[in-house]
Symmetry: C2
Subunit: 178 residues, 2 copies
Amino acid sequence: MKRIAIDMDEVIADTLRKFLAVCNTELGTSLTKSDLAGKNFWEVIDKKHFPKIRAHVYENDFFADLEVMPGSQEAIKKLNESYEVFISSSAMEVPPSFTAKFEWLKAHFPFIPPSHIVFCGDKSVINADYLIDDNMRHFERFRGEGILFTAPHNLGVRGYRRVANWKEAEKLFLPAAK
Amino acid sequence: MKRIAIDMDEVIADTLRKFLAVCNTELGTSLTKSDLAGKNFWEVIDKKHFPKIRAHVYENDFFADLEVMPGSQEAIKKLNESYEVFISSSAMEVPPSFTAKFEWLKAHFPFIPPSHIVFCGDKSVINADYLIDDNMRHFERFRGEGILFTAPHNLGVRGYRRVANWKEAEKLFLPAAK
């Protein structure tokens, strides 16, 4: 059975929406996802605001109430029948997120057992056939194939197979399914 | 550069010593490591005491003050010069341990960057050439070679290369070093 590793932020969890909400509340801006086309979140706010925004991200519960990305639960439940599915998050970049991320997965993806959750940093340590991720940096040394999950910041990236949403991911991995 | 993944409990952290201390204090026993030859910790205590002992393990700080296994810091510092070293712990089995384990590593193995720390469950998800671990169950589907780190419970296990301590691990992986 082939194995698929799936990222959390921007792939199954709508972290960007929360980022923008925090930013708009804290800074009085009215940023939307369309303002981030081709850009990383940190590129659209003034450097002087970084500490204030970072403080939110490092709160224990920042990741606790993220919205689930549309269609991800249904799609991953189906993929889970034909593939070994692992969730792999670069949680080591934000250690206070460990518990919130684990609890979030338990609540929204209860069909993924804890044994199939991986918190790491450098994802070249993941042994899988595919990695669905919005960050191409994880594909460089990954031993399988990286599948880019479209996010505003990666719109200009070329060189990888790409899925724009979970419907497309289903079609790619389960072509015979309805 | 070859990659070595290294387990935490019983390999770089003396978890068993803490288990025994908790047990002896709670149950009035006087268990030592030699009582555990060929046995898992849970095989030497009465089932009725499991909840009481488990409660300790699930405390947030159980893993915070574990002693470092003799010679592990020096050996891993050396290995880190010739190999890509990752620390991989089955922390998903005890989620309250996440933060304590991360902080413990930062305190005792500061030369291992957070990007090289992996908290997982099923270690077949680790992409490495070697896995130094005391639990042979992690070797079954591991893509590299499992190196058994001797612990009381695995004394009878055959079929894998084994190191009894960190001096032996150094000799195995750095044969030309003093």
